[in-house]
């Protein structure tokens, strides 16, 4: 190492998850206390970084170059970290990460199971740099790709590299990025536009937010490179209304890029002109669809249009437009710098590179992970995610947001890439992976998605507007105990109709959550319809709780947790739940230390 090894970097994670646990105050505290501390002989730099991914264990503080990572740090730990670790070089054991798989404490987080299976390209800088500091980005190879492109490559060469890398759009559909650029470049119609789709709306996905918050310059650099390749001079970033910090950091990055000549009239003296503008989304899910998004930028209601003519030919204001997702943009600079062959070595043949997944739901290590395409679902959930919370049985994984499907146990070995996920009825989507255990009801999940989609349907196509609403009604009936077996056939035929007769991807894929749960979890539907029983205990009309008298150890915890005093008994003897008082909150079920509280169907009590 060079001289900088004497310099200590204290990186405080200030992603949304950590911020909610006051990490910004921790950052300020470090900054204030280190700036005038006479005991400190080394130079210290305190940085507020983007999200480290493992949000469940935040706030995260990392100390470089010692590679020490502390988790769940609170403001009262700051003094101890300064005195023990920064001044005396010792490690504070209690703040280290406990690896659930390796069953030990870990000093350098990169050795933790959550991180060591990961391969970071799109997230390479996040958590390592200060997103508001342009110099920090530049020190980490920032804008090198832009320099290479502007001064050493022709637009065609740029497109060739991107095409050769086989990069596919990370927004969900997986369209080859290079081909998109190439097609757009071929149209002799100006002006052309470059758009970044930052309207991340799939429930359970937050990688785009994390990239925009934690490494905004990489998105900007990717977009300028595309602008150069297709001869466009203007780009828009459409960012979701809810993502305030992402907009703020992105705007700050645009301002500083402009100030230092990376955006504007004569970029780095090359003569090439390109500038960017942020458009704030309006909080409509359908605006994540490319044509609806463009309509929204134009100042219209965000309704999709039929794509007989592609956006690359007639997009924003009917001009040729390249629209890519945030994560796609973040992949561009490394591909330009390292070459297509480097990128192709990662992942699989048709699905090159990596994909960022947000691992959420009933999994121990919730957070953002970036793994090579083709990594198995099992590895993601169990090796990286650490398995299911409280070691309950795994039931399913939902991928692809409301357009995706539920994947059961039998497909746990599936490789996560565009093609394999589609083959089993789900899809990649934007990379949300929602883990479900035996207390998640598949009928209710299908109902939940139909409710979501019926709200978010823009209403243009009848099949989508009315069809989804009808599916929702049927599913609500089933979850309330009024379902009939023929409902299942109706759901299936409605689903197939909506798939073929709707205009945009929202409608076309809307039935997926229902169709996949019908395929893989039909028994659960039948259980709801015939036995009037919800085995997960979610559909309250079809749930009763009872205590298995032979198993109950008489600890009385359930009785203490019951908010309505519906559980009575004597210590060390079996307790009893009185169904006439029970509000079915499920507290007893979660609290019972040995699983003696059981879920019965609606009929059980009567």
């Amino acid at each position: 190492m060079n001289d900088s090894s004497k310099k200590k970097n204290i990186l405080v994670c200030c992603g949304t998850g950590c911020l909610a646990h006051n990490s910004y105050q921790i950052y300020e505290d470090f900054r204030d206390k280190l700036s005038d501390n006479p005991n400190i002989t080394v130079e210290t730099i305190v940085k507020a970084t983007g999200c480290n991914g493992l949000c469940e264990k935040g706030p995260v503080v990392k100390i470089h170059p010692d590679n020490i990572s502390y988790f769940k740090v609170s403001i009262k730990d700051v003094d101890e970290i300064i005195n023990t670790t920064i001044i005396n070089g010792q490690i504070i054991d209690r703040l280290l990460y406990i690896d659930v798989n390796q069953k030990k404490r870990i000093v350098n987080h990169m050795e933790a199971s959550f991180y060591k299976h990961q391969h970071k390209i799109a997230l390479r800088n996040i958590g390592e740099i200060d997103p508001l500091d342009l110099e920090d980005y530049i020190e980490n190879n920032g804008y090198k790709a832009l320099d290479k492109v502007l001064f050493h490559m022709t637009p065609n060469e740029v497109i060739d590299i991107v095409e050769d890398s086989k990069l596919r759009g990370r927004g969900g559909a997986g369209f080859p990025t290079g081909l998109k650029w190439k097609t757009c470049q071929a149209y002799d119609n100006f002006p052309k536009y470059v758009i970044c789709n930052g309207d991340e709306g799939d429930p359970g996905a937050f990688m785009d937010r994390s990239i925009m918050e934690g490494d905004p310059h990489t998105v900007i650099e990717g977009m300028i490179i595309c602008g150069y390749a297709i001869d466009s001079h203007k780009g828009f970033l459409y960012i979701r209304d809810e993502y305030e910090l992402a907009r703020k950091n992105m705007q700050a990055a645009i301002d500083s890029a402009r100030k230092f000549g990376y955006l504007g009239k004569d970029i780095l003296g090359s003569g090439f002109e390109f500038d960017l503008e942020i458009v704030r989304g309006g909080g409509a899910f359908v605006c994540g669809e490319s044509t609806a998004l463009m309509a929204s930028i134009e100042g219209n209601v965000g309704e999709p249009r039929a794509k007989y003519i592609r956006s690359v030919e007639k997009g924003l204001w009917n001009q040729p437009t390249v629209l890519n997702n945030v994560e796609t943009w973040a992949n561009i600079p490394p591909i330009i710098l390292n070459g297509a062959d480097w990128f192709k070595e990662i992942g699989t043949d048709k699905n090159t590179g990596t994909k960022v997944f947000s691992l959420v739901g009933k999994v121990k290590n919730t957070g953002l992970v970036e793994v090579p395409m083709g990594t198995s679902l099992k590895e993601l959930v169990f090796d990286i995610g650490g398995g299911i919370i409280k070691n309950r049985p795994f039931k399913a994984v939902q991928t692809g947001g409301p357009s995706g499907g539920c994947i059961p146990n039998e497909h746990l070995d599936v490789g996560l890439d565009f093609d394999h996920l589609s083959a089993i009825g789900s899809m990649m989507g934007s990379g949300g992976v929602i883990v479900m255990d035996d207390t998640t009801c598949m009928v209710e999940i299908a109902r939940y998605y139909m409710e979501f989609l019926s709200e978010e349907s823009c209403g243009k196509c009848t099949t989508c507007r009315e069809g989804i609403k009808t599916m929702l009604d049927i599913l609500t009936n089933i979850s309330e105990g009024f379902g009939e077996l023929e409902d299942l056939e109706i759901l299936e035929s409605l689903g197939k109709t909506i798939e073929v007769a709707s205009l945009c991807a929202l409608g076309k894929t809307a039935p997926n959550p229902v169709l996949t749960t019908l395929e893989y979890f039909k028994d659960e539907y039948i259980d709801h319809i015939i036995n009037k029983r919800c085995s997960a205990g979610v559909c309250k009309d079809l749930t009763t709780y009872y205590i298995d008298k032979d198993m109950c150890i008489g600890c009385g915890i359930c009785s203490k947790k019951c908010p309505v005093d519906a559980i009575t008994g004597t210590l060390k003897e079996a307790y009893e739940i009185h169904n006439d008082l029970c509000t079915k909150c499920g507290n007893c079920f979660t609290a019972c230390p040995n699983g003696s509280v059981k879920i019965g169907g609606a009929a059980y009590a009567y």
């Binding site: 911020l19 646990h21 429930p203 409509a284 899910f285 219209n300 739901g361 919730t366 929602i434 909150c585």
Partner: protein
């Protein structure tokens, strides 16, 4: 309510409409600024937006009703958003909503009579690791439980009385 008074008393605040170039594409941005300032889109602001940008009032209205970020009804001083993204949903966000409904006596989309609280069930806000999560005026409150909700509302009421 303060909000209403400030609109009636201060016509100059219409300036908020004129902060952008006179182009149709800024309609949404103008409406969002109004929403941010007043907590909803008052009719007269829709009218001045329509005049300024020279677009039909019906178009402004259709935008104001299409986009979820915009509201035609005033929101509370504490606008509470309960995330119902999938991750929050399967960690029982609905029970958090029910608790808020019970405590405040309002349903999603409504505002309490004193203008203090409004509740809304919203789509994923991308803070899934904090599930179930609620958002109050831009601040995230993670890993919510019924008990935490109650304490939080009590706190906010107290803060508000002391102001």
């Amino acid at each position: 309510m303060d909000v209403l008074n400030s609109i009636e008393g201060d016509k100059m605040s219409n300036d908020i409409v004129y902060n952008y170039p006179k182009e149709k594409r800024f309609t949404l941005a103008i409406l969002q600024d109004i929403q941010k300032e007043y907590g909803y889109i008052p009719r007269e602001y829709m009218e001045s937006t329509s005049h300024y940008l020279n677009i039909p009032l019906t178009d402004v209205y259709s935008l104001a009703t299409f986009y979820k970020a915009l509201s035609l009804k005033p929101k509370g001083k504490y606008a509470i958003k309960i995330c119902n993204g999938t991750a929050c949903h399967i960690r029982d966000s609905i029970s958090i909503l029910k608790e808020l409904e019970d405590i405040l006596g309002i349903k999603p989309g409504e505002t309490t009579e004193d203008g203090l609280f409004s509740i809304e069930l919203v789509n994923c806000i991308g803070a899934c690791a904090l599930a179930p999560v609620i958002l109050i005026n831009g601040k995230y409150y993670g890993h919510m439980t019924k008990e935490k909700v109650k304490a939080l509302i009590d706190d906010l009421r107290e803060v508000s009385t002391n102001e």
